[in-house]
């Protein structure tokens, strides 16, 4: 069920042991607080999550790294170097499955005027779009599964495209191993609407003015496919505004637009069309309300992808995906909470030779669970997850999953 112990896993164990010894606050055990070095100039934090679940025959929880988010051991270390009052360097590295090493974030943060809440971040930066892109995993996630919009693999790929509607419809519900005739013929994972498996690279501006918080960014990848290096000469522009009329309520809106296909597909495009013209455009709205033991979140995302018109029946309209999510948490007792999430993905209908159908299979998920804190920084979660979709070989599955989470 679990990956074999690799040299990297042993490295993680050694690192954990070192952290336990290195932390002045740890006493006899693992650290319970961030590790501060050089008078607070360097601060290290960490998070370990171990998640177990049975096989997911419908691949509902697979990420584009081709493993299930419900069967994973992840160890992440984050670091903050305070160079000056104005300049900080932030980094986060993650090790998934004991083998997949990802420098998740690495960027410099500049606050030109320390007395004002205005920052410039440059490098591999956190996502601008959406409410849950920064909290879809680990201690910020109320449940264990990630929201569908941020993880569920659609059939579309940046390096391969369907020649026509029929070809696209044949891939409904097969996003974990999608293949098309134009571009890379090797079957591979498709893209989620918003990809939280990795961060994009670029520049981000952020400010807070009274009740309004705003963020804008220019990056090299797309919402579905964040990248370290650009692959299509396109730039993603993204923006987000959050208004907090009271401490209890926040309302946010996001927008992002970018080219999304790889330039390797350029020769396959009809005359007059370019990779830069094939865009993913997404808009989102979200809200969070919390009071006493209650926390409620809702988010709606609409994303479109333009696809070249190659052969009949042509894909004349942009592909549209719509995500709706509602989740809540209620603290039943000190250290114990219940949570519930309902979500749904819908897609626009295309007309093929034989039939009309949504270009991807509509997908639903309901997940309910509980969290129990053993100590402040060790949390056990258990969840029941029911997945269902309107297509694919496996149309539904039910999973019981558990997670242990430790952070410092």
């Amino acid at each position: 069920m679990f990956p074999a112990v690799s040299p990297r896993s042993r490295g993680v164990a050694v690192l954990l042991a070192w952290l336990a010894v290195a932390s002045p606050a740890s006493g006899q055990g693992l650290p319970s607080e961030p590790i501060s070095v050089a008078g607070g100039r360097l601060v290290l934090g960490g998070e370990f999550t171990g998640t177990i679940a049975p096989e997911d025959p419908g691949f509902f929880n697979y990420t584009d790294y081709e493993y299930s988010a419900l069967r994973n051991f992840r160890f992440g270390i984050s670091a903050e170097v305070k160079a000056t009052d104005r300049v900080q360097l932030l980094a986060e590295v993650r090790l998934d499955q004991g083998t997949v090493f990802e420098p998740y974030g690495l960027y410099v943060r500049i606050r030109p005027w320390p007395q004002h809440r205005f920052d410039i971040q440059a490098g591999r930066i956190p996502p601008t779009f959406g409410a849950m892109t920064r909290s879809a995993y680990g201690s910020s996630n109320l449940l264990i599964g990630q929201p569908l919009a941020y993880q569920y693999l659609l059939s579309i790929r940046p390096d391969a495209i369907p020649a026509n509607v029929d070809e696209l419809l044949r891939m409904r519900g097969r996003g974990w191993e999608s293949s098309f005739t134009v571009g890379d013929p090797t079957p591979g994972p498709g893209l989620p609407i918003v990809n939280t498996s990795r961060w994009d690279t670029g520049v981000q501006l952020h400010g807070i003015n009274g009740l309004v918080e705003w963020t804008g960014s220019a990056t090299v990848g797309s919402l579905s496919d964040p990248r370290v290096r650009e692959n299509n000469d396109g730039r993603q522009l993204a923006g987000r505004v959050v208004v907090r009329p009271s401490a209890a309520l926040s309302v946010g809106a996001s927008v992002a637009r970018s080219a999304w296909l790889d330039r390797a597909l350029d020769p396959a495009l009809p005359a007059g069309e370019s990779i830069a013209g094939m865009r993913q455009t997404a808009v989102g709205a979200d809200t969070e309300f919390s009071s006493g033991p209650f926390l409620m979140r809702a988010e709606v995302i609409r994303s479109t992808w333009t696809v070249p018109e190659l052969s009949v029946p042509i894909i004349g309209d942009p592909l549209v995906a719509m995500s709706k999510l509602l989740e809540g948490r209620y603290k039943v007792a000190p250290g114990f909470y219940l949570a519930l999430r309902g979500e749904r993905l819908d897609f626009n209908t295309l007309m093929g030779t034989q039939r009309s159908a949504p270009w991807e299979a509509a997908t639903w998920r309901i997940e309910g669970g509980a969290g129990c804190s053993i100590t402040r920084n060790i949390l056990l979660k258990g969840a029941w997850q029911r997945n269902r979709r309107d297509g694919g070989r496996v149309r539904a599955d039910t999973l019981i999953t558990a997670q242990v989470l430790y952070w410092f």
Partner: protein, 251 residues
């Protein structure tokens, strides 16, 4: 299915079960202001202050903390799109001095007291509070943001939920022990409430001075506590008429 789950959540909310939270639960802004005017620690109440000067016997001295602890840093929030706002760091110069075992008279029934642990600029004020069993501790939120005070300590488990600036919630400390207090939203916020079943304790002053007034004559062990641990203990004899002088060093 989703509707049924939501009904369950709503039903649980109506039940409102939060062990450890006193019936006062949430109190309004007015009582918050009144509570702030009250003493910050129960040992600073008028009767105790009076006892310091009028008591014929007791133990006094200085708790010398040689190495002041560093405040807990914020966790590096790499997922943030900007730097967090400014915060105050807690005052970590104070320890607690108390009698390890108390005379029988210490357990006489007393009026329940009230104490305040404020939340201001992402810190608890004071960082260390010492109270007697039965004391109701108010946790007003004097910040601009939400806070969620909770404790998973064996002595007192409670979770006050999220509440906004100007609101206050309270907890009655029912059992002796060390209650580690945290904020569920700001992980660097932490504080201690030491709950005693006798009145012979004191939070050391900025200069380390402490006084345990009205300790009956006899032999005792005095303990110096600092940042989660009893760090030093010393025997002391309280004379029949007069104060015992004692200095404690926390290395």
């Amino acid at each position: 299915m989703a509707l049924a789950g939501f009904r369950v959540l709503v039903g649980l909310a109506i039940l409102g079960i939060f062990p450890g939270v006193s019936p006062e639960g949430a109190v309004g802004a007015d009582s918050h202001v009144r509570a702030k005017r009250a003493s910050l620690t129960s040992d600073a109440s008028p009767s105790r202050a009076q006892a310091r000067t009028t008591s014929p016997t007791g133990i006094r001295g200085r708790l010398d903390i040689r190495r002041i602890a560093r405040p807990v840093e914020r966790r590096p929030d790499t997922a943030a799109t900007g730097a967090p706002g400014p915060r105050d760091v807690p005052d970590l110069r104070h320890g607690v001095v108390y009698l390890d075992t108390a005379p029988r008279s210490a357990f006489d029934e007393r009026e329940p007291a009230r104490a305040v642990m404020d939340q201001l600029n992402e810190r608890f004020v004071p960082h260390v509070l010492a109270v007697m069993v039965g004391t109701v501790v108010d946790f007003p939120n004097s910040d601009r943001t939400y806070h969620n005070v909770f404790s998973l300590s064996r002595a007192q488990r409670f979770d006050l939920g999220r509440y906004a600036a100007g609101k206050s919630k309270s907890v009655r400390m029912d059992r002796p022990g060390v209650v580690r207090v945290f904020c569920d939203i700001h992980s660097h916020m932490n504080a201690f409430v030491l709950v005693f079943n006798h009145p012979y304790f004191d939070v050391s002053a900025d200069d380390g001075r402490f006084a345990l007034p009205a300790v009956p004559p006899g032999n005792y062990t005095v303990v110096g506590w600092y940042e989660g641990e009893a760090r030093v203990s010393r025997p002391v004899v309280v004379p029949a008429n007069g104060w015992a002088e004692l200095d404690l060093v926390v290395p």
